[in-house]
Symmetry: C3
């Protein structure tokens, strides 16, 4: 069994953003040499997500609006977590979008449907944060 | 390490449905011959889910109503994604219900609690769509 | 390839609770002897979650309030599942918080960011329930 590990770093200048990380993840897969196996991609921070969906800017706008409705940022005082913090909503949003994805590796490629792309979802940016890619297989 | 891959196809005649896929997934597992390992089951489409919950029709009705309240289909014009499309809500619903499940394989069986069953959640049906089953182990 | 399996049991005296299970999971990992691999931690019940977030009591209070707003327990008669049951809301809450986490194992440790901790989320307690830990790797 082979295993491979690499981190992907971000410093998003805004509080929130969705970033397509599929190209970097594909590079890591090629580097690993794994042909058949599983890949885990997870946020290493608890105010960020990794998820799979469509690379379409209208949809990303819809996600932004929808998450803000389900877990509003303001007023920050509505959350007990916000004592010297203002990111409680980011911890909530991340639960809806998810911490991680597990992706099949087949014949050395991400085994994806036509429109599947991997995104980093930032909900409390403006500082350095990272994603873990772990691959096991053969 | 063994690996096994197979697709499961659907053509749901309605926009939305929940389908118990546990029997087919168990057949794939038997076919793989894997005794100890992990199984990934994921939607290959970004308007569908794979999730684990109860095979109880009342609950499925509750999920349907609840998802419609959290991410309404209409009015379709409320979503920027809906330019020549009307399925933005399906992309939202799928995030709540999830893209994938990872299941332990122990002694050649799905290592499940009493009531765990695997479902395909369709949120934009009426066309051919598929689920990936990937197994690794020994 | 090594594999390891162990259950973690709970009997939460209240209907809902969040319990940090990281120390027990780390013990299981040490016991497994796996240095590089993947660990699956999943609820074996469909009214409970396993998730990764912050061990901060204010945030847990916020989760409790927020989940109650998104998927209210009462009135129980609003849910069709509640025929001789009163836990439909627990099945809904569990979908938002998730069934499982998959964690990378690197050099014999959980490969975690600074604040990542694993929680059992109980939404219908007052009875014995369990979590599965499955590890594969080398």
């Amino acid at each position: 069994m082979k295993s491979f590990r690499k981190e992907l770093w971000f410093e998003v200048p805004t509080r929130r953003a969705f970033i397509n990380i599929t190209p970097q993840v594909e590079e890591f897969l090629a580097e690993s040499g794994v042909q058949e196996g599983l890949m885990l991609v997870n946020a290493m921070h608890i105010t960020a997500s990794v998820f799979i969906n469509d690379d379409e800017s209208g949809l990303h706008h819809d996600y932004e609006q929808w998450l803000e409705k389900l877990a509003p940022h303001a007023p920050v005082a509505q959350y007990r977590h916000n004592v010297g913090e203002d990111n409680a909503d980011a911890h909530l949003k991340r639960q809806i979008m998810g911490r991680e994805v597990v992706v099949a590796i087949t014949k050395g490629k991400l085994d994806f449907g036509t429109w599947e792309q991997i995104f980093y979802g930032e909900f409390d940016g403006r500082r350095r944060k990272r994603v873990l890619v772990k691959i096991i297989g053969e």
